[in-house]
């Protein structure tokens, strides 16, 4: 789908407009830094990967330690972080990883950062997990707030949820490819997001769309059996299928703005490719 690529491109657009921006990845895969050719994958701290653009790969265990240090006197935090029972608790409680990850995203977005010595960001771009898990992670704070009712988890859960569910502070960009299943999933995601978070998409980015190079008349003249001619016919047919899916998506979205990004004919999206995509997004964001 190229979700990480689009997240990086959105981050790049914001950074170029002078916003101090961070792209936060939650599933420790370092896709964004790879696209930007940054070094040292596998690190969990915030670092600048392009002028004004930062990246962090959020690790729930690290976020838990940070949270405890912030909430508790140092010796207690130390003890808890090292207590195996607590680690087991955190790892075994379903949804805890999601809560800790989204909690860190919230922390990144605070004007007064809790992380010692950290500077605030103007924009946090969350490269969220795929559709089903994506809503689960956004929902985690409220789920836990509901379960805890009182205490600091409940209080913070409500605070984080309030930020996530506020369209003035949080915008959801859905990334889809122009094919049957992703289009269905995107439409289903919109319903789930509205039902469970009260949020609508701010925008849908359709990534990897193929535009035909041939007019209908030209396509009709593509007779022949050589491989390049067959490839041209194939390209034209695929482009047609993509446009049908795009139209279906647009109809289903009734009114949500929708932007397309072309399929890049490169082996892997590199800094140059990202630049091209950011340039296209710049016009609409």
């Amino acid at each position: 789908m190229g979700k990480s690529t689009v997240a990086a491109a959105v981050g790049l657009v914001a950074a170029r407009r002078g916003l101090r921006t961070i792209v936060a990845e939650v599933a420790a895969r370092d896709d964004v830094t790879r696209a930007l050719e940054a070094q040292e994958p596998g690190r969990y701290d915030e670092r600048e990967i392009a002028p004004g653009l930062h990246h962090i790969s959020i690790d729930p265990e690290g976020a838990l330690e940070e949270y405890l240090r912030d909430q508790l006197p140092a010796p207690l935090a130390e003890m808890l972080a090292q207590s195996r029972m607590f680690t087991v608790f955190a790892a075994a409680t379903p949804g805890m990883r999601e809560l800790l990850s989204i909690g860190k995203v919230w922390e990144l977005a605070q004007a007064a950062r809790r992380t010692p010595g950290a500077e605030p960001y103007d924009l946090v771009v969350l490269d969220a997990p795929a559709t089903g898990h994506g809503v689960a992670i956004l929902e985690a704070p409220r789920t836990f707030a509901g379960a805890a009712r009182v205490g600091s988890v409940a209080r913070q859960g409500h605070t984080i949820h309030a930020m996530l569910a506020d369209p003035a502070r949080t915008g959801v960009i859905a990334v889809a490819s122009p094919e049957e299943m992703p289009v269905n999933e995107t439409l289903a995601l919109r319903g789930a997001l509205r039902d469970r978070m009260g949020l609508d998409f701010a925008r849908v980015v359709v990534n990897g769309i193929e535009h035909s190079r041939f007019s209908a008349a030209e396509a009709g003249a593509l007779h022949g059996d050589s491989e390049p001619v067959r490839a041209a016919r194939w390209h034209h047919a695929r482009a047609g299928a993509h446009h049908n899916q795009l139209n279906r998506l647009r109809r289903g979205l009734n009114g949500v703005p929708c932007t397309t990004l072309p399929r890049l004919h490169v082996a892997e999206v590199d800094a140059g490719g990202l630049d091209e995509l950011a340039g296209r997004l710049e016009r609409v964001l």
Binding site: M79, L80, F89, E98, A130, A136
Partner: protein
């Protein structure tokens, strides 16, 4: 080609990242096995609506339904066996499992009514993986099918799937929590005051009501724990059974390729049977440069020929990438002859599309 690899297999698990055509491949595999005369069930998760419609899956019964063989008539598939299909309903599967494991109706209802259970069984990441495996185990135990094909949930981390039984059983056992919740229990005696401190800090951090709710939750689950443990053992045995096979499905793009290699290695570590690779969406063209002059003669139009060359050059880049991916996949997974399915012109969401994929799988 795939037929040999699936000979004598009772359980076929299709694994891989999302967006690589896993559902379609699973359905086409099941269709092919059924066409050969076996009674096959395909368990899919959230398939494309039109694919589901084409198989007659509108009904979310959470039990396999026979796909009307008439649906394949006229599509070049002669159905000698039976194809059954179902869409997994995670929440319902979970509830059914609780029903099976609960010693009596009272404890079943208590668990089902528990707020924490309700939140955890539906919303939580990992419950889909867990219920998919639970359903597979159930279907295999009932023994109604010659083969079961499981389309695994689209999971970014393949490990979620292999770990699911352990993780959820671990949680339901709630050993760590029960120890904490009983400050006068064994742990308190062993660890002494330390536990009391951990307990009170936990209270302060998480909010006391969460712990109380959890405590009630675990008490009501108490009678089910042994059943869960038994089940986990059975599931693990089934996953490692010689009649079970994991097919790793990928596309030639970098991320799914890395995930496929990662998953292959995890299978090796876990001692689970690897049945081979299926590489979907392979660029169906070569990498040789085009001869523009020859094309102009073929088409009788130099302008059109130039456009064809441009399109061809773009396709060649991707074909080159795909060849490099295949080379890497072969070397890293040890499967020297993966099954290749070309990127098709349109989407696969009807019987004809399934038949096209089937032709590449069984051709």
């Amino acid at each position: 080609m795939i037929a040999q690899r699936l000979e004598g297999k009772r359980v076929v698990i299709c694994a891989g990242s999302g967006g690589v055509g896993k559902t379609t491949t699973s359905a086409a595999l099941a269709m092919g096995l059924a066409a050969q005369g076996r009674k096959v069930a395909v368990v899919t998760i959230d398939p494309a609506k039109r694919l589901a419609d084409s198989l007659g899956l509108e009904d979310l019964g959470n039990e396999p339904r026979l796909v009307d063989p008439e649906r394949f008539a006229g599509h070049g598939i002669e159905m000698q066996g039976e194809l059954w299909a179902m869409m997994l309903d995670a929440k319902r599967t979970f509830d059914e499992l609780i029903g099976r494991l609960a010693p009596d109706e009272g404890s079943r209802d208590e668990v089902l009514a528990n707020r924490i259970y309700q939140e955890l069984s539906s919303a939580v990441a990992g419950s889909q993986e867990f219920t998919a495996i639970a359903k597979l185990y159930e279907l295999d135990r009932e023994g109604g099918f010659d083969a079961i094909v499981l389309d695994t949930p689209p999971s970014r981390n393949a490990l979620d799937f292999l770990d699911a039984p352990d993780r959820l059983t671990g949680f339901f056992e709630g050993r760590a929590l029960r120890v904490l919740l009983a400050p006068t229990g064994l742990a308190a005696r062993v660890v002494g005051r330390g536990t009391g401190v951990v307990f009170s800090v936990l209270k302060r951090v998480t909010g006391v009501d969460l712990l109380q709710d959890l405590s009630v939750f675990f008490r009501s689950l108490g009678g089910l724990i042994d059943g869960f443990k038994e089940r986990t053992k059975g599931v693990k045995k089934l996953l490692a059974d010689p009649a079970t096979t994991f097919l790793v499905i990928t596309s030639p793009e970098r991320e799914p390729v890395e995930e496929a290699i990662f998953f292959r290695n995890k299978l090796r570590e876990a001692g689970m049977p690897f049945g081979g690779l299926i590489v979907n969406r392979v660029q169906p063209f070569g990498t040789e440069p085009a001869d523009e002059g020859a094309l102009a003669r073929e088409l009788g139009d130099t302008k059109l020929a130039a456009k064809v060359v441009k399109t061809w050059d773009e396709a060649r880049v991707l074909a080159g990438r795909d060849q490099a991916s295949l080379k890497r996949l072969k070397a890293e997974t040890g499967d020297s002859k993966p099954v290749l399915i070309p990127l098709l012109e349109g989407d696969v969401h009807d019987v004809d599309g399934l038949v096209a994929v089937h032709a590449h799988l069984f051709g």
